[in-house]
Symmetry: C2
Subunit: 342 residues, 2 copies
């Protein structure tokens, strides 16, 4: 059960008194082989349990029909969904996915990029770490003639294909909805501002307040509240203010929103009457908390599909002059009980 040598096209050729080139052409279905020999070759290949050696053809073709993916965490819902969507489309095109996780470490992200460059992947799909420092490694991808598609968390200054959520717009909608429900003092839980997505969500928050003629109250904006624990802490502080907020937009994640909800419940503050809560991401659990949590769906699986389609339709066939496109996936506000005062 060990190491019997693999059958190669040479083995098949020898057996049939043919040349390897004919075998190759037959198997790849090039027209230059007669039907008779083609059949013969196919049958023999099956009989000898032949499996083409991709390593060899990859080297020859200089491509391995592979897309490399780098995400902070594979098992984070959003990323897992994007990857699932990606896989679905790449599979249809006979491409494979090599997956790396940077674990939110910049150093590791750089290593992942290098590995994928060595592997000669056709394209790298990346969402950068929160620990993002500079974009040298991102640029290096392009220097090696490898296609690059950034998504969600991106290095703004590098001119590449990008697939984004319109975080600003969705935040505006969320805040407008809260205002529409009669909330007057809306707090914001922010994520690290070196990430585009969190900056944009904050912009949306500010813009919406401005649009509706609300004051911007610095004490209602809390930095770096992007885990459940950090959010809980921030919430405790917020709710202890002399003039506490009557709504909290947990712009970083639904886990943050959950932290808010738990604190409010413990403090005997009723949601949504005394406090409105809006999260981000539409995690499965937001539907079943009590009350259920208003949130924003990112259409993550569709995002993955969009990335793959972008590659196959445009990036792959790209001419000398690149015109990197940016695709915006429209997120969707999902209104649930946690913000329905009526």
């Amino acid at each position: 059960m060990k190491n019997q040598k693999r059958t190669t096209i040479y083995d098949i050729a020898r057996k049939l008194n043919l040349n390897a080139s004919s075998v190759s052409r037959a198997l790849s279905n090039t027209s230059k082989v007669s039907e008779a020999t083609k059949k013969l070759i196919f049958d023999t290949a099956k009989e000898m349990n032949y499996q083409p050696n991709s390593l060899a053809s990859n080297l020859r073709r200089g491509s391995n029909r592979t897309i490399g993916v780098i995400v902070p965490r594979i098992n984070q819902n959003f990323f897992a969904n994007v990857i699932a969507g990606l896989e679905e489309i790449t599979y249809e095109h006979g491409y494979n996915l090599v997956i790396c996780q940077s674990n939110e470490s910049y150093e590791r992200e750089v290593e992942c990029v290098n590995t994928l460059i060595n592997q000669q992947v056709n394209c790298i799909v990346i969402s950068v770490t929160a620990d993002f420092q500079d974009d040298e490694h991102i640029r290096n991808i392009l220097k090696h003639g490898i296609q690059l598609i950034q998504f969600d968390r991106v290095a703004d200054n590098v001119d590449t294909f990008k697939v984004l959520n319109d975080n600003r717009q969705s935040s505006i909608e969320a805040i407008s909805h809260l205002i529409g429900q009669g909330y007057k003092r809306i707090a914001l839980l922010e994520g690290p501002q070196n990430l585009n997505i969190f900056r944009q969500r904050k912009e949306g928050y500010l813009e919406a307040l401005r649009m509706h003629g609300f004051d911007i109250v610095p004490e209602l904006m809390r930095e770096n509240a992007w885990t459940q624990e950090l959010s809980a802490t921030a919430t405790r502080e917020l709710l202890s203010l002399p003039n506490p907020p009557d709504a909290i937009f947990a712009s970083t994640s639904d886990f943050s929103a959950l932290g808010v909800l738990e604190v409010a419940t413990k403090m005997g503050i009723s949601v949504p009457d005394q406090l409105g809560i809006c999260g981000y991401s539409n995690e499965a659990f937001t539907e079943i908390t009590s009350p259920s949590i208003t949130t924003i769906d990112q259409h993550s699986v569709d995002m993955g599909k969009a990335i793959a389609k972008l590659y196959f339709k445009e990036a792959r066939s790209e001419a000398e002059v690149s015109v990197p496109r940016i695709i915006n996936i429209q997120p969707q506000l999902i209104i649930r009980d946690s913000t329905l005062k009526n």
Copy 2:
């Protein structure tokens, strides 16, 4: 920004008036190169932005330091976690992960296996589809001299390395716990019995009842209730019986358990007083439903790590005679409110 030719060891050699072999040896740090030239080569490599071409070295070495993973769904919590665990360890060893999802389709699973064989991956890690039909393709992996580790859902009859959860034992514990809480008529929601895991959970259920001298009541056992919807339907039927169950073990997943909980809530049946509910998997949401749901944690990330370690410690170095090992990861009963009558 396009297709500048990559630097190869030949380019470096030419520039330094050396032979490519020396460059290769220098870069791979073989002792047969003088320190002086080694330094020269390293510097030039950096200067020319050299990245080794893995495709070429893969072909030469006949291996690509890659582990292929086939799971039904990448974005299912359990599998995403296993993959994350896998990645963590394989990364440490400089290996890559190629990921495929079979989408619960047998046909597609076969295709995935073939792709990975062609790619000459060093090892295939697989959890089979619910649609599992025969193990021809699994055996084919071994025929090609590729290491194989099955996990969770496995083809029982193929003698390979396996990493499993002790589903039977965990089910026994769950049922014993229910009995200990005073539940008398315990129903079972089963998954497809062609999958080992669901068979074992059923066995555990039966065994526990026997151990405690309980009757086995066929009408309390529902086949194929393995989605939230199917479980909800099954639950409605069960609770409408003349003599309904007072506890339900949703052995297939926490989503099933959630279906049970929702139906019970709608029917005004109080959990845990009138109905105990136990799920499987310890999904994040089980902690925050009301009441929170008793479930079984599979230690999925650890499972992924165990798989990788198994490969690097044993499978990889394996001698001619293979002694495939089976590793059992002990799942853990997490007791929550949905089964605490007291």
